[in-house]
């Protein structure tokens, strides 16, 4: 955290000054470890083994916050007897279909709800990265469930959890992760001692944690621990995701993503949602509790915002205009389609895939086979000059004279040359004031897309074709101002906030959304950002004039609430768990919820309220159900649906690992998304042979001095000089073994590419003893590319494309490679070296590792 979010880290130092203990778990000793109280070196890709060990430690010693767990989580809920755990399936849950490599989730449901899992065919959900839709709303689960409050029933979630993690003993953690038992116990003890009524512990992770084939399950394990210890929804507790871009949270709330519409409404699927009703019901899950009950009003208001007057109840608010998904349209599928020539045009809007995305070579080859490419950025980035200076030009794979891609580079305005809101990592919208005009031809995206839309509509003005109606009926008349006719960002924010169609009055909360077309809301979760016609995101009341929650600085979605599920900071009858951790509580006289933050509960619903049987939607939420977005109002220790690779996190080895999975026969995540495209490949892992061709584990992450793909730091002189060259960190033992010298050169080879880097020999990387073997790990920064003041090879070139099933994010934080001294070959010789490694490793590009590896040790049995 001190590396990539130093200013956020001030609060960790503040806590440390008051005696908090800071534990840092990382494959490499970083600047965070330097000031942490304890550093645990871990083998990259084994976080579930460690956290599973902590769960076992909690359950074994009955250290969970029992009152919280029984009331607020689904620990007591009884699961169907058809369910079978990975302990019995050697790494598989019940319901695995080897043909499609996915699960049928019926057997995971709560007892009595086997039929209504709703997501029977998770293969389709995997392709549509449906996991992302659950970012803000619970998955499909029945409302009424059987519970055993004593937590003794063998099929209650508590016991299933206990059995699932029974083998994650401290010895197993040491064997799998390479962490000494002593250090592991110190961590587990501190975490449990620091939870309960009076104390809370916080789990902080950076987005690198998600870039694993089991990334979502990493976070699930963290959530389970925090639920067991009663840390969720309470001040100083919870799970904090430190995201890497200024408005990455904003870009999933108002998603420039293929599978989502603003407000986490899923993009319609061609087979599932032919009509509006089917689409809305697939969101609302009739009969289910929770706030998603009024999904119809959110959907209707969005369509109304898009198509205005043309959207009427009669034509389902122009639902017909929406494009439909048919499968996986993710960025990596798109890149493979580009290589195959299926894609004509590509827009790059402040993103640099030639360096930032995995498998840099595929990215650049894809872009070389486009008709046209539009790049909008502050600087001349690698993705714009791949045809001129890219590594593939050096190896002869891209010959500028034969590369047909027409490239437009349009300069973009910087953050001080345009006004608008960023949504930072705590869901807080902050308005930026415009300081100066953009220089020369530089323009904001607002300008570019508004005027592009205007031109398209002019060109199609008199087109009779039905497909053009969607563009022509669009509400696209934003007022413009200034010398460059810049569209008004405030007008767009008003539309996002939502307004009453007849009066134009800005709405002040998503409860005002209507399904009859009387309201138009661009993004329902942001409703309230323009409450009372005031730009709440622009509020800048100084911290000196408000309390520590600082509610009048900017605006957090939803409803300016700062800690989600904060109903859980009070006990079932509404009193704070302790004076020290008082946050939100029930005020009996005023009979309403009150506290330091906006209560995450219906204001006047008393803790004693119990829903009538069969009640659904918001009425279905009881007075003691803090997790108002979940189908059963409870925190999920066990996820009957919504997570495609298992209701409980299970340790699988990374896709490329030198070690056989010590816990199960199944080596890697069986439901991972694999691409059998000729450009893609996977290094062999046990039980496959030739694993020794790539003996070392490598991981990549950030430097404090650089930013993502480097375009905003390698071009800025005071930052470039702080970390001027690409380097690789190796332990002294590996340096001795391979013959590397400090500041000498080394080149790293994987199944996809070879890159070179200067060597930094350091004690901050330690060889780990795993399963009786010494495993060496090396670390690389991924910021470098061939443009800018300081250049170097891109570490992400080494990765192949393997994605997590839930949200289709690539595994680019752990892989295997070979490390050799000296610089890499140049020109065509580079391709020969990679090809030689592929031959020796038995890699035939286009093939991928067997999904199922449990038949018996030796024989592979590859599912397609």
């Amino acid at each position: 955290m001190a590396e990539a979010h130093p200013v956020g880290f001030q609060w960790v130092m503040e806590a440390k000054r008051r005696g908090a203990k800071v534990f840092h778990v990382d494959p490499r000793f970083t600047r965070t470890s330097a000031v942490a109280d304890a550093y645990l070196p871990i083998r990259a890709g084994t976080d579930i083994a460690l956290l599973g060990g902590v769960v076992r430690y909690i359950l074994d010693n009955e250290l969970d916050f029992r009152e919280y767990v029984v009331a607020y989580t689904n620990a007591a809920t009884i699961v169907s007897e058809e369910f079978s755990d990975t302990e019995d399936g050697d790494g598989f849950f019940s319901g695995f279909d080897p043909e499609t490599g996915t699960y049928v989730q019926d057997s995971w449901q709560y007892e009595g709800h086997e039929g209504s899992s709703g997501s029977g065919h998770t293969a389709q959900e995997r392709d549509s990265a449906a996991g992302l839709t659950h970012e803000s709303h619970g998955a499909q689960v029945g409302g009424q469930t059987r519970r055993d409050e004593t937590l003794q029933h063998p099929r209650c979630v508590y016991q299933i959890l206990k059995r699932h993690f029974a083998r994650y003993t401290p010895e197993m953690v040491e064997r799998v992760c390479g962490i000494s038992q002593e250090k592991f116990l110190e961590l587990a003890r501190a975490w449990t001692e620091n939870s309960g009524r009076d104390r809370t512990g916080m789990l902080v992770y950076s987005v690198g944690w998600t870039q694993h084939s089991v990334g979502v399950q990493y976070i699930r394990t963290g959530a389970i621990i925090q639920l067991l210890l009663g840390n969720m929804g309470r001040p100083g507790g919870g799970v904090m995701a430190l995201r890497g871009h200024a408005s990455i949270q904003g870009s999933t709330d108002i998603p420039t993503l293929f599978n989502l519409l603003p407000g986490y409404l899923p993009m319609p699927h061609h087979a599932e949602h032919p009509t509006l009703d089917e689409w809305v019901d697939s969101i609302r899950h009739p009969g289910q509790k929770g706030f998603w009950g009024n999904a119809r009003s959110f959907a209707a208001s969005l369509l109304k915002a898009y198509w205005g007057d043309a959207a009427t109840p009669e034509n389902d608010f122009c639902y017909g205009y929406l494009p439909r998904m048919t499968g996986d349209h993710g960025t990596y599928q798109q890149v493979l389609n580009m290589i195959d020539g299926k894609i004509k045009g590509y827009f790059l809007l402040g993103q640099n895939p030639a360096v930032g995305s995995a498998h840099g070579r595929a990215q650049r080859l894809g872009m070389a086979n486009l008709d046209w490419l539009v790049v909008r950025d502050l600087f001349m980035i690698e993705s714009a000059t791949f045809w001129q200076n890219g590594p593939e030009v050096a190896t002869g794979e891209i010959v500028p004279e034969e590369c047909r891609t027409e490239v437009f580079f349009l300069p973009a305005a910087s953050h001080v040359e345009k006004e608008g809101t960023f949504t930072q990592t705590q869901r807080l919208l902050q308005w930026r004031e415009k300081a100066v005009e953009p220089p020369g031809d530089a323009r904001s995206e607002l300008w570019f897309f508004y005027h592009l839309g205007r031109k398209l509509r002019e060109k199609l003005a008199d087109s009779p074709l039905p497909r053009d109606r969607a563009l022509l009926d669009l509400t696209w008349d934003y007022p413009t101002h200034g010398p460059q006719a810049e569209p008004s960002a405030e007008a767009v924010l008003r539309e996002i906030n939502g307004y009453d169609v007849t009066t134009g009055r800005p709405l002040s909360g998503f409860a005002e959304a209507r399904a009859d077309g009387s309201t138009a809301i661009g993004c329902w979760i942001y409703t309230g950002v323009y409450a009372d016609g005031v730009n709440q995101a622009a509020r800048r009341k100084s911290r000196h004039e408000q309390d520590w929650v600082a509610a009048e600085w900017g605006w957090a979605w939803p409803a300016n609430r700062r800690i989600l599920y904060n109903r859980a900071s009070a006990d079932p009858d509404g009193n704070p768990w302790s004076e020290r951790k008082r946050y939100v509580w029930w005020d009996a006289e005023k009979s309403e919820w009150t506290g330091y933050d906006v209560p995450d509960f219906e204001k006047t619903k008393p803790p004693s309220y119990r829903p009538a049987p069969g009640a659904s939607g918001t009425e279905g939420i009881a007075g003691d159900d803090p997790f108002v977005m979940q189908g059963d109002g409870k925190g999920w220790l066990y996820a009957p649906s919504g997570v495609l690779d298992g209701p409980l996190p299970t340790h699988y080895e990374p896709v490329e690992s030198p070690v056989r999975n010590p816990l199960y026969g199944q080596q890697a995540n069986p439901t991972r998304k694999m691409y059998a495209h000729p450009v893609n490949s996977v290094n062999p892992s046990p039980p496959q042979e030739h694993g020794q061709v790539f003996p070392y584990v490598f991981t990549v992450s950030r430097l404090t001095e650089h930013h993502t793909a480097g375009a905003m730091s390698r071009t800025v002189s005071p930052l470039a000089e702080l970390q001027p060259e690409m380097f690789v960190e190796v332990s002294p033992d590996l340096a001795a073994e391979v013959g590397l010298t400090h500041l000498g050169w080394a080149h790293l080879v994987s199944g996809r590419a070879v890159i070179e880097a200067k060597v930094l020999v350091t004690d901050r990387l330690t060889p780990l003893r795993v399963d009786g073997r010494i495993i060496h790990q090396v670390w690389l920064p991924y910021h470098f590319g061939f443009e800018g003041l300081v250049t170097g090879d891109s570490a992400n070139d080494l990765f192949g494309i393997s994605l997590d099933p839930n949200v289709l994010i690539q595994e680019s934080k752990v892989g295997t490679c070979d490390v050799r001294p000296g610089r890499r070959p140049t020109g065509p010789a580079l391709l020969d070296l990679v090809a030689d490694y592929q031959r020796r490793a038995g890699i035939t590009p286009g093939q991928h590792a067997p999904a199922v590896t449990t038949d018996d040790e030796g024989k592979e049995h590859g599912a397609s």
Partner: protein, 322 residues
């Protein structure tokens, strides 16, 4: 006006002695390296505010320090030292390879600082082999001009370019400096430096222009963990003493203050530090003394030599008839 007896050496409040009536309290820095996270925000904030030019794009291999030292083009320098030895408050040295070291009751564990910060072939921190590796420690420290009570650079400056400000800080007046270079040899910490193409001497000004406007220096404002604290010097000295006490109580016995003592060789620094190891590990002199301390004796010696010379000449001409 009879100058203060300590005006050349010894504890002193420099601003009044430099002729400022009712000068504001002396301002300075206290840098607590135990909370420094080596992010280098101070280096960048200083460069952005003062327009300090680029100082070279080369990987130095000194852990994450690619700046190298305080120079005319880097007025803040964050030092990184990797030490394979147990930090004061870490768990006892368990073999990181998982096998617990046989920690007998009084086994003399000598995990002393094999790392001597020595140059050359040995990469930093190479003292111990794999089996000897113990819990690791990574020291970081943002170095800066010390703004000494008795500033040798200021004393020796022949043009009056280096001068004492009303805040008690030491600043180079770039409209006066003619690049004679004397201050560069005089600084006992090796801080001030001559800028190659420009010829003049440059160093941290403790943001003299920002102080004038009642603002904090740029580095102190940017520092995310308040490792760099700016304020009245006496207040900082109290805060520092308390902080060292806390650290000692929390099992960090090697925490010590450096440059805080008005009785040290330079009369105490305007920018002092809390370090976690010997000063020289960070590249700081262990016992710096302002050269002006010995100046009176030097002038006496020169006077004697001059007399000897004159006497010799007279003798040469008067004596001897040939």
């Amino acid at each position: 006006m009879l100058p203060d007896p300590n005006s050349l050496y010894g504890p002193l409040d420099p601003a009044p002695e430099a002729g400022y009536e009712n000068a504001p309290p002396r301002m300075g820095f206290f840098t607590d390296t135990s909370v420094c996270i080596g992010c280098k925000a101070c280096e960048v904030a200083c460069k952005e505010w003062n327009g300090v030019p680029e100082s070279g794009l080369d990987l130095l291999g000194m852990s994450y320090d690619n700046t190298g030292a305080l120079t005319a083009n880097s007025w803040r320098h964050v030092a990184f030292i990797e030490q394979p030895r147990p930090a004061g408050h870490r768990a006892s040295p368990a073999d990181v390879l998982g096998a617990p070291v046989d920690v007998g009751p009084d086994r003399p564990v000598d995990a002393g600082p094999q790392f001597l910060g020595m140059p050359g072939a040995q990469p930093p921190g190479r003292g111990s082999g794999a089996e000897g590796r113990t819990d690791f420690r990574w020291l970081m420290m943002s170095d800066v001009c010390k703004h000494c009570t008795h500033a040798a650079c200021l004393d020796v400056c022949p043009t009056g370019s280096l001068f004492r400000t009303e805040f008690g800080t030491v600043v180079v007046q770039e409209d006066i400096c003619n690049g004679c270079g004397y201050c560069i040899s005089a600084c006992p910490y090796g801080v001030i430096d001559q800028r190659k193409d420009d010829g003049r001497a440059w160093k941290c000004t403790l943001c003299y222009d920002r102080l004038g406007a009642g603002m904090m220096p740029a580095c102190a404002q940017a520092c995310p963990t308040e490792s760099i604290q700016y304020g009245p010097l006496d207040e900082l000295r109290e805060r520092a003493a308390a902080r060292v006490g806390t650290l000692h109580d929390r099992g960090v016995p090697e925490a010590r203050l450096y440059g805080h003592d008005p009785n040290d060789g330079v009369g105490g620094d305007g920018a002092f530090f809390l370090l976690l190891d010997e000063p020289e590990v960070y590249g700081l002199p262990p016992d710096p003394v302002v050269t002006t301390r010995d100046l009176p004796k030097m002038w006496k010696r020169a006077g004697l030599a001059a007399l000897a010379m004159a006497a010799a000449t007279v003798a040469a001409f008067v004596g001897g008839s040939s």
